[in-house]
Amino acid sequence: MGFFWASAFLQIFAVSLFFKNYLEMKLLIVEDEKGLRDNIAQFLNKEQYIVEVAPDFQTATEKISLYDYDCILLDVGLPDGNGLNLLRTLKSKQKRDNVIVISAKDSLDDKLEGLELGADDYLTKPFHLAELNARIKAVIRRKALGGGNVVRLNNMELDFDARMLSVAGTDVHLNRKEFDILSFFVVNKNRLIYKSALAEHVWGDHMDNADNFDFIYSQIKNLRKKLKSHGANLEIQAIYGVGYKLTV
């Protein structure tokens, strides 16, 4: 009995040492386009996830029946079957895997069907990798047990449900878009954020005009000022003509 507890403890210790940031987050990418699959895998590997890939319906079906994943990125249009059927299989097996549906079709029907079948989110190609990252973290965070949808970074605490920021225990008022900007930076910390990825995340279709990037810069300047005045311990670095990076 004592041996069991000791070995269990050791195992947990080893695992937590290995994955410093996340505890064994396992992702599955179901995507038939090799280029896209490789891009996503390469990007997510840097986020310390365990990334597995399935190039077709058949492989994906085998993988989901054998393993549990924290998040599955599911392409709808697979050569040997509709990705949505995979979603049906998952739900019929009462599996709790998070699913983000990815489709080339900007079609409302696909979106509605996907969400009705129990997908957690929906993303249309083409998308920015930073956006994908934010979506993955959001679905994982929402389902995390006891975590309470809160992200901590240095002396900051972002509550995604209440959409509140507190710095060193003091609440800081941020408007809707300031919160969106900050949270996008936080989930993509230490990564380069291409300027239009940020614009699309915060303003959606309302901001697809490159003329307006000066405007985004001014918004970030305001946010920086606000964070600095409250003593937030972080730095948003602007990379001229490219984008931004939050370094911690």
């Binding site: 386009e33 280029g35 896209l36 891009n39 996503i40 390469q42 990007f43 080339a104 079709k105 900007d106 409302l108 029907d109 190609k125 083409p126 998308f127 920015h128 990798l129 930073a130 878009k177 990564r191 380069l192 291409y194 300027k195 239009s196 990825a197 303003w203 959606g204 279709d205 309302h206 901001m207 697809d208 005009n209 490159a210 003329d211 307006n212 405007f215 001014s218 918004q219 990379i239 001229y240 003509g241 490219v242 984008g243």
Partner: protein, 422 residues
């Protein structure tokens, strides 16, 4: 000119010609017959008078016409032998008419048994040429009017009936809209020519509809197929961007920028063809006031940054059945248009009224080209980042919902009025 009037015009012109010729021929042949019969009568009369004169010599002294229609006078032998019988028209005073009238006179010569020579003149009343021509012209005119009138009536009735399939086809063709109607059903007719024409038109339209559908489908498919390679290219460059520094990073960012522009263009084209292919689900009741307010709020930071003042005048609530996604695209495109083509410190005025709304903005000092502004890829300014599809999409959305989107330049404001049909 109507077909009916065309035939009538030709008919009346040729009838004038034919009837005139006919009248001349008729006049001369009738006069010929009249002379023939009168002259025969005079000849007969002559023989009767000469016969009577040989028996009753008192007749030989009747030198004047007086109450009868002949006169006899003696003439010298030489004269009588040289003279010949002759018919001619002359005039004579008529007591009844109290005027000189045309008469036909036969002048002939005869001799009695005692070698006396006489000249005999016999007259008979004659058809008056002038009167006859007048009567004839009169009759002809009436005939002409009667023929034209009946031709008009018959034409009207018959042609209308005969051409009915044609008018039906015309009506159907006028109602036909390529891209809206999926089929064309020509009217049924038993007339071979019209049936052939209907079939030909139906064939032609069927081919057109097919080509049109394929064209639309092609744009949609092409746009679809482009999405994935675009996605891969953008993501690859994003990954590369993370490992790059300085000038390289800027070049990469620039490349991504152009790929994103292509993506936007592609998405707009896809949206346009989807709207035109009517792939948008049933409409729901939408609160346009709330949506307009929401979108202005979404744009608030940008408006503030560009120092553009927005005023919303809500004259009436606007709640209509409309596709929600398309309503958002419509409002976004119009608002974006009003912001992008505005100047620093400018203003936007949104008026929501019963059955529509209007977005007016300050901007360039001259009105836009109303002909071209809603056309695809039309750009008023040399803005390199606009797709040139925003207003075309807005127009297509309006048309899909049988609404009207119009532009006017008024009081230095560019006004876009969106009006739903009631």
């Amino acid at each position: 000119m109507k077909l009916l009037n065309h035939t009538l015009l030709y008919l009346s012109a040729s009838l004038i010609f034919i009837l005139s010729i006919w009248a001349v021929v008729f006049y001369f042949s009738m006069m010929d017959e009249v002379y023939d019969s009168i002259d025969d009568g005079l000849e007969n009369y002559k023989m009767l008078i000469i016969k009577k004169a040989t028996r009753d010599s008192t007749l030989l002294h009747k030198h004047r016409f007086d109450e009868s229609n002949y006169a006899i006078r003696p003439i010298p032998r030489e004269l009588a032998l040289r003279a010949t019988e002759d018919f001619r028209d002359t005039s004579m005073y008529m007591e009844y008419e109290e005027d000189y009238e045309v008469v036909r006179m036969l002048t002939t010569y005869f001799s009695t048994a005692d070698e006396q020579y006489y000249e005999l003149k016999i007259i008979t009343s004659m058809v008056e040429g002038e009167d006859l021509v007048g009567d004839l012209l009169h009759a002809l005119l009436w005939l002409y009017v009667a023929v034209i009138a009946s031709a008009f009536i018959i034409n009207n009735r018959v042609l209308r009936k005969i051409w009915r399939p044609f008018y039906q086809l015309q009506h159907e063709l006028r109602a036909f809209k390529l891209g809206v109607d999926k089929t064309f059903n020509p009217p049924q007719t038993k007339v071979t020519e019209f049936r052939d024409m209907n079939d030909t038109v139906a064939e032609l339209l069927k081919a057109n509809i097919t080509v049109f559908q394929q064209q639309k489908q092609f744009i949609e498919n092409a746009s679809h197929e482009l999405q994935t390679p675009l996605a891969i290219a953008i993501n690859k460059l994003e990954l590369l961007l993370e490992q790059s520094r300085g000038d390289d990073a800027q070049q990469l960012a620039n490349a991504i920028h152009y790929l994103e522009r292509m993506t936007r263009l592609n998405k707009s084209l896809l949206l346009l063809s989807k709207i035109e292919n009517r792939q948008f689900a049933a409409s729901e009741q939408l609160d346009f006031n709330a949506r307009l307010r929401q979108q202005v709020d979404d744009f608030s930071e940008l408006l503030h940054y560009r120092d553009i003042d927005v005023e919303i005048v809500e004259k009436a609530p606007l709640k209509r059945a409309f596709n929600a996604d398309l309503a958002d695209v419509l409002i976004t495109n119009l608002l974006k248009n009003a912001i992008v083509h505005n100047h620093e410190g400018g203003r936007i005025r949104i008026v929501i009224m019963d059955g529509g709304f209007e977005i007016a903005n300050t901007g360039s000092a001259k009105p836009l080209d109303t002909e071209k502004m809603f056309a695809r890829f039309y750009r008023a300014s040399e803005s390199s980042t606009s797709t040139g599809l925003g207003l075309a999409v807005a127009k297509a959305i309006a048309q899909l919902h049988r609404a009207n989107l119009a532009y006017r330049y008024e009081g230095e404001l560019h006004c876009f009025t969106f009006r739903l049909s009631s």
